[in-house]
């Protein structure tokens, strides 16, 4: 078993952990000034953004051996679900926000 401290001495991991910590602060900073009117669209938009998990699904799919049908099937499903999350999320958010802007012009 490898020791946990190794996680922090490995340069790539260290870099990723730095990104994580900075992103946490950034997320808090960016969100904390949202008027409650925009809560639903914001939640929906954030929902679409975590659909970025689809990139992992694409990598899984693309690296699967062509005769490993279990991996192919699971990967295929994962890409479909990830796409649903991304596309559905952005389209729903856009629909909500469209109503806000329509009203603005009047």
């Amino acid at each position: 078993m490898h020791s946990i401290t190794e996680l922090f001495t490995n340069e790539a991991t260290y870099r990723l952990i730095t990104i994580v910590i900075l992103s946490i602060f950034l997320g808090i900073e960016v969100i904390s000034r949202v008027p409650s009117v925009l809560h639903t669209p914001l939640m929906s938009g954030a929902n679409a953004i975590h659909g970025v998990v689809i990139i992992g699904a694409i990598i899984v799919m693309g690296e699967a051996k062509t005769d490993d049908y279990v991996a192919l099937t699971l990967g295929f499903l994962a890409v479909i679900l990830g796409t649903l999350n991304v596309v559905g999320g952005f389209v729903v958010t856009d629909r909500m926000l469209e109503m806000f802007s329509k009203k603005k012009k009047k």
Binding site: I19, R33, G51, V52, V53, I59, G75, V87, G88
Partner: protein, 473 residues
Amino acid sequence: MGNALLQLCYLFGSVTFIMGLKMLSHPDTARKGNLVAAAGMIISIFGTIFLFRSENAEHLHNYVWIFAALAIGTVVGTMAAKKVQMTAMPEMVSLFNGMGGACAMLISIVEYRRVMDLVAATPGYVPETGKMIVVVLGMLIGTVSFAGSMIAWGKLNGRIKDRTIPGGQMINFVIFAGLIVLVAIVVGGFFPAMPALFYGILALAALYGVLFVMPIGGADMPVVISLLNSFTGVAAAFGGFLYNNPVMLTGGILVGSAGTILTILMCKAMNRSLKNVLIGSFGGAKATAGGAAKEQGNYKEISVSDSATLMAYATKVIIIPGYGLAVAQAQHVCHELEKVLEEKGVEVMYGIHPVAGRMPGHMNVLLAEADVPYEKLLEMEDANDQMSTTNVVLILGANDVVNPAAKEDPSSPIYGMPILEVEKAEHVIVNKRSMKPGYAGIENELFFRPKTSMLFGDAKKALQSLVSELKQM
């Protein structure tokens, strides 16, 4: 070269996510912000498809499968998102959130199988602890989020009823403890029994997700969806660790932290702690309240024409929308009522409670759909300031957010939640379909107060008759 370009794509993606979220938090730029984030997503996805190289510098393959899956997801996702009613939006977000969780879960399963293949093929091979942590936790959180979102979806569209499981909290605690032990064993690398343990975690995580959301009742549903949303973000971030992928990491963590903040903001609006929401659910309180047994006294009914007269001769009317308005699809008629009253010189405003409906901002979206001007929507504090100078308050299908028990009855499960103080106004007209308690299952004293008159009926029909009545006056 290809790799440098891909890293650039990812950097671009991360920047657009940050900018997108930032722009989404201002009314003027929100729509553009959503598109900016979507553009970054598309570039990151296609960058991955065409530029990604594995550790042995190989391109991805199985392109036919990838594009087929992308096409299916795009068509189905677009259709579902275009077709959905504005009132069903919360369910939809919950459903899409579940898809993301399931995606993270499947990725981890495939990666786990690859690790197992390596273990089987090379004697003495020990998987890195870091990788195992990432795979197992990514799967666990993704699964909880998936199962929880599905239950939330089912509950919001009425397919699944609120149910309290006796000793539910105890069971949840045991499952949670079991999960920690199993994760420690699997990550610690006790090999022979591993696949069974891994899938044991999967099953337990799914069960945990179900049991975790099951007893949580109506008024708390927004909080749960927001929390599950941030769970999926974290699951995506574990994917970022797994593939050393910066855009998955930033995207996932941003959503994770933003979702947590949003969750906390919502809890604050209800003056409750997150722990209180998750453990002291309304479902449990319902059983002890024994609503019917308590004698409530009499309520007063009011006719449509009396309501119309009352409002026509008012100087200021505040409308308080709730989930009943959304269910009845009455937002357009509501706007019409507002216009008719304004023509008669009545000042009309809307009092929006932060947790009215099934999601934060649910009422705002609904009223925006009906073209109600932005300036007419008052937030709770502003609305309460206006109450004492208001002649008529019209409550449309809202219940718990105006329940005086939140201020007066320490034994009430919603005690301490800020409410719209409608009793400061001269008259209160409550439109409801029946005397049944609201979604949280709590009796509402307000309906029996002397100032209150009940206008029974479906919100849409009641508003339509109000409008036609007013037009004849």
